[in-house]
Symmetry: C2
Subunit: 406 residues, 2 copies
């Protein structure tokens, strides 16, 4: 398995572009991804009851098992909470792209990200789509431009890719994602677009994607807010030429391993770019009653504002970690709890079997100066284990979000 | 019904004091409340799985239906996550006070608030209790001192009282509370101490308290973190001389009305004093499928960091309110949703039946300048209705919590 940081044009037959249309930002705001041949399509969506127009439509296309050949994505406006006009504008985006590329409209996905509750400037986006398609390219630049066009408060674009063999065929996966705020995925995620030239059935593609999301995107949190526009999707166009994967054999396992690496890498990149973040936090819980208990405990720790601000202040206020575990809703015996904090600057034990240890505050302060911290929790309730990723909360989080629309 | 801002010494036969013992803060850090005669006792406690030593003991005393005559409360150390030594120190606090006041140890409640995971400085607290009891007084000053001694990051002390008649007897309720951070009560609350001279059975006292908490303390949030030390308790010593209330008659209704007023008032005072808060937010949801759905929607709005930072930035970014409702877990049809924002400076409609309205941004900005904002949501799903109270999130929230222990 080879991991690198190429994007969605890495697999055979995928093209992309990212262009400036003048919708909202003074930078690229429209991305298009295209496959030479119709691709199998799998996706997971936000569980927010309020769903953007694009999410509703993409879900219908998934339910009808449509093959997909292109995706059009705009940034600046989420086209969520926009009523009937929002549905019409979203369908219009798909129709514009289908018309320019001479595709069936049901082979085009749409995605939007940005401010909720504002109508899309449809004329601008329509003209933008018409002018952009000639820039579709299957080289590195196309992927770079697309990845930058889907950013909102992101400060860096997020791309990752992998190569692996199925039999004698080389298979490639490429991916891009956006996400920095409103990040608390629940059975879905922010926007992530994955391409692969693997040949696989749609049902196995969906299973691999759904399974992978549980321990990757669903285990991160920036601010506890689950977006209305979350979607992680994958297109598989089969151009690698491998024999179609039709059951959960070794080839399927090879693919899911690559897919997991891709998704974990993107999830971590989103956290590292969390709004205002100065540190990333990786939480590991072992010995929980069940895997689901371990997940709940990890998520509660990384979601807690008090934990996040303590790490920003480089304060070993570990009681807040225990407190967050206590209200996680998980089954847990606090008397069997041990806690350790670790970074590149050292490691320190804070609690052993429910009892606080006297610890060296100077060493703790030194450890907490690092920009990447591990929180290691061991329980004595079972063998449930999980990892979660979060970030600290700084003054910049308030600055960014106190002034987002203006 | 007469509401004023006297505290726990308002009812007949209650004494209080608040003293400086030198435990942690350079101000009052020990409070004692005393009743001339044993009082019936009712309480609700945190649902956090990790419970402070005081919570565990007070719960046992409630289960055994102990009559209570005194409460000793320290600030600076929460005595939570402190293992066996914490349990011993907590019992020691109760024994010290029982010994000085010549009471049965099982008639003494304890409460602690402050940093989690640090052992109580037992010698200091023990000496403090011995020296403090002579200052117990049944006048206004005793209540004022006690209310200030239980503060941690609170910037103001919180007291409220009420008078009402049961038959020809005048009954009084007095109360004090503390709370500013780690506020997201769940079936319980921060520390709230309520005294009354009402004559009522213990079971009805408990029912009144449990019922009242659901729509008062449990409907506020400062930061989404449920404390390990939350407790709201009430002592009723019967000295008003009314005929004992033994069923849910008109007298009981009069009492619960007064108790609700007291609890709502304290809950609002806690929110107003929320860590770093510059604005209070009152959310009302009407037309939800059930009352529980309405509560979930209110709590999700006031908990959202993105909603809180938008109000801090005085930005009418109402999409974040809808988004928070969407992930609340409540049953809700977004197409029937209407939203209005209101303050002393005006009122503005933002969404009508799921469709965003064009609104006057200047008027919105003017309305949002007020330090008290109402968020009014109407749904078309049923007749469930609830109110919740929260606050904005400012740079000061980060400052206070990045540097709490040091």
């Amino acid at each position: 398995m080879k991991i690198n940081h190429n994007g969605v044009t890495e697999p055979s037959g995928f093209y992309a572009c990212g262009r400036y249309t003048g919708m909202k930002y003074k930078r690229r705001d429209l991305a298009i991804v295209y496959s030479d041949v119709p691709a199998k399509y799998a996706a997971v969506f936000t569980t927010n009851r309020v769903k953007a127009a694009s999410i509703i439509r993409n879900k219908q296309l998934l339910d009808s098992k449509s093959l997909i050949q292109a995706i059009v994505i705009n940034s600046g406006h989420a086209n969520s909470c926009t009523g009937k006009q929002g549905i019409i504008n979203n369908q219009g985006m798909a129709e514009s792209l289908a018309s320019v590329l001479n595709l069936d409209v049901n082979s085009v996905l749409t995605a939007s990200t940005g401010v909720i509750g504002v109508q899309l400037p449809f004329d601008i986006i329509n003209k933008g789509i018409e002018k952009s398609c000639i820039f579709l390219s299957d080289d590195r630049q196309g992927a770079i431009d697309a990845a930058s066009a889907i950013m909102t408060t992101d400060t860096v674009s997020k791309e990752v890719s992998a190569q692996f063999n199925i039999g004698e065929k080389l298979v490639r996966i490429g991916a891009m994602a956006k996400g920095s705020g409103m990040i608390h995925p629940n059975m879905a995620t922010m926007l992530a677009f994955i391409t692969t030239d693997l040949n696989i059935t749609q049902s196995l593609l969906q299973k691999a994607m759904s399974d992978s999301v549980i321990d990757t995107y669903n285990m991160i949190s920036v601010d506890g807010d689950t977006s209305t526009n979350d979607m992680a999707c994958i297109l598989a166009n089969g151009l690698a030429g491998n024999e179609e994967i039709t059951n959960e054999n070794d080839d399927y396992q090879t693919f899911t391993k690559a897919l997991n690496l891709i998704n974990i890498e993107l999830a971590k990149m989103i956290i590292k770019d969390g709004e205002g973040a100065t540190k990333t936090l990786e939480t590991t819980v072992k010995g929980a009653k069940t895997k689901e208990d371990a997940r709940m405990l990890c998520k509660s720790i990384i979601r807690s504002n008090l934990v996040k601000t303590a790490f920003f202040g480089e304060d070993a206020n570990w009681g807040r970690i225990i407190c967050a575990m206590g209200y996680a809703g998980a089954d847990m015996n606090p008397d069997g709890l041990s806690l350790r904090i670790k970074s590149r600057f050292g490691s320190i034990r804070l609690v052993e079997n429910g009892t606080p240890l006297h610890f060296n505050e100077e060493l703790a302060a030194e450890i907490l100066k690092d920009n990447s911290i591990e929180i290691l929790v061991t329980l004595s309730d079972g063998d449930g284990e999980a990892k979660g990723w979060g970030c600290d909360m700084s003054y910049d989080y308030i600055r960014i979000n106190g002034d987002y629309r203006t």
